[in-house]
Amino acid sequence: MTELVPVLAAVVPALPLGCAVALQATRTPAGTDRLNIAAAIATAAAALALATTALARGGDPPLHGDLYLVDGASGVFLAVIAVVGLCSALTSPAFLRGAGRSWFSAKRSRHWYYAALYAFWAALLAVPIAGNLALAWLLVEATTATSALLIAFTGSRHALEAGWKYLVLTTLGLSVSLLGIIVLALALSSSGGEGLGALDWDALEHSARGLPHEATLVAFVLILAGLATKIGWAPVHNWLPDAHSEAPAPISALLSAALLPTVALVAWRVKATLDVAVSGATAGTLFIGFGLASLIVAVPFLWRSLPWKRLLAYSSLEHMGVVALGIGFGTPLAIAGVVIHVAGHGLAKALGFYAALPLLRSDPDAAQRAPAGVLATSRPTAAAMGVSIGALGGLPPSPLFVSELLVLAGGIEAGETAIAAVAAGALALGFLGLLHALLEGVIGPADKRPRAASRSERPIAVLTGAFGAGLLALTVAGVLLPGSAFIDALAKGAL
């Protein structure tokens, strides 16, 4: 399969772009939805083939091309983006059938939605295999324009507010990041590295030792601070709860489960390559700072009675904090935790957002207030919400229970016991907040009369079964991963 990697690396981002164009040629809504299903399956299949190839190589050195790099981390992130993208595309027809008003005319709204969705998915799939820092930045910036349109798709005042805030704040953040990249290019040119190739991940790693410390530190801080805005790390997370709560549910799933961790991967690669030049402790401390701040800021909101999607948004803030901590600690145990956390969070969070589709269809007011006693009104929706929130809270046997333990153990292994203790406290408080939401929102007394499950709830039941099985498989993987060659290679930052 390795010989197919150059082809797959080109096909994986190109295929969804082609699909975005092809979907514009359809004439009926049913035809558009049918082509969407075929396009989604083809895109996910190509991405999963590349992910499987990358993961099958275990701890082997990464594969490089002119513009791509395929390593173990690429495999993990590609798999998550492929699965979440596939499910988001498959659940989109249900959203579009129930969507009332839209930014676009009724005749073209489906075409605009799918064009933006597939362009967004294409850019997301390209980020983990981008072999160059500047290229990765360009792709992350490209996700902004496409996803902003999707966030504001309904055209409501709140959706416009969320989309505008997201567009402006993340563009400014990425401008700061680009400033850091230019400063880094300046530092590289002073040591003989010029052109696009100087910013290749492997070239950066090789030239890092010869870079001037002060300029590289400034570049690193600027790049990380800018990316933090897009990842949604506190204190630069203001757009996150609004965008996640106002976007169509399939898009919220992509934003939370795929976009945030994918940008975190770029930050992780920056740390892995520039560690030597900025001194590993400084780089790690910055990640730990963002991680701890995100955990602590999220907790009060997880305790509040919030609308379902808004609660999930604050949970994203908490979980991106865990990812930042794991990368900051950087030990093999912590990195194993990060890998499982990205995959587990992706599945659990996406399921939570998909559950919002039947929830909001049966009770549109749930967009403005916390749900109550969903079990009494819809068992399939309640099951999806229960599995999602139980997993996100870290309730055993959730893979996030294992991954959080691994990250905390990694912190102790790195000598950051106090940080690990504070993080454990914040995670415990977050768990109690989510447990409260589970008891009140899902199991507690209903504020509506019970009704029989309708046929339209079967898809969420199927998704719950599939994602539940996936989560259990990740729990097993979380137990087996520490100590593997795959994790050791990632922890060493081999690119």
Partner: protein
């Protein structure tokens, strides 16, 4: 790039934070972008042909983006001038203070031309200050362009130039973001009857 041209680029950015009329802001950002494009063309001799292409594209952007802004401005007529969040002098003083603080704090970046380095960093921060201090969505968008011009100033000043792939890619991304932002501006105007983002404050916890 000559020190005078760099100063003009900075003054145009500072002007955007002061002016009240959108047409004046467009004129300032157009002048800033043209000065930047002209400065880049001046640096092109002795550099690669890729840099020349990037400079021409930068100049084309200086014409295309203001034209696009003008079209959208005419489609989104404000019934009256949006009340400023703070007096012009206060806005200017705030942006100036942030820019001076950053210039004082950021160590030499290695360009060897402190004036250009300071101006580029200051422009990025002035752009951020415009977004924070101006209420109309249209002027916030111009703030984004000012910040991007600061980045372009630094990028073209890198010895040998930043890779043209990065420069052209960043310009393409900017064009994409500006196009989407202009679509937002029109939609916000349609929804609210004005581009005043102060009215978009319904999402709070």
């Amino acid at each position: 790039m000559s020190g005078a041209l760099v100063t003009v680029i900075l003054l145009c950015g500072l002007g955007v934070i002061v002016v009240r009329r959108r047409s004046a802001a467009i004129a300032l950002v157009a002048a800033q972008s043209l000065a930047l494009g002209a400065g880049a063309l001046g640096l092109a001799s002795g550099r690669s042909s890729d840099f020349l292409v990037a400079s021409v594209v930068l100049l084309a952007k200086a014409v295309a983006l203001p034209a696009l802004l003008l079209v959208v401005m005419r489609r989104t007529r404000e019934p009256r001038l949006v009340a400023p969040a703070a007096p012009a002098l206060a806005r200017l003083a705030g942006a100036g203070a942030v820019a001076f603080a950053a210039v004082a704090l950021v160590p030499p970046l290695g360009l060897g031309d402190a004036h250009t380095e300071h101006t580029a960093v200051a422009l990025v921060l002035v752009g951020i200050a415009i977004v924070v201090a101006r209420r109309p969505a249209f002027l916030q968008l111009i703030g984004l362009i000012v910040a991007e011009n600061g980045l372009s100033l630094l990028a073209v000043s890198v010895p040998g130039g930043l890779s043209y792939v990065v420069e052209l890619g960043a310009l393409f991304d900017l064009a994409l973001v500006v196009t989407v932002a202009l679509a937002f501006t029109q939609r916000i105007h349609l929804e609210l009857g004005t581009g005043d983002t102060e009215l978009l404050r319904g999402l709070r916890d």
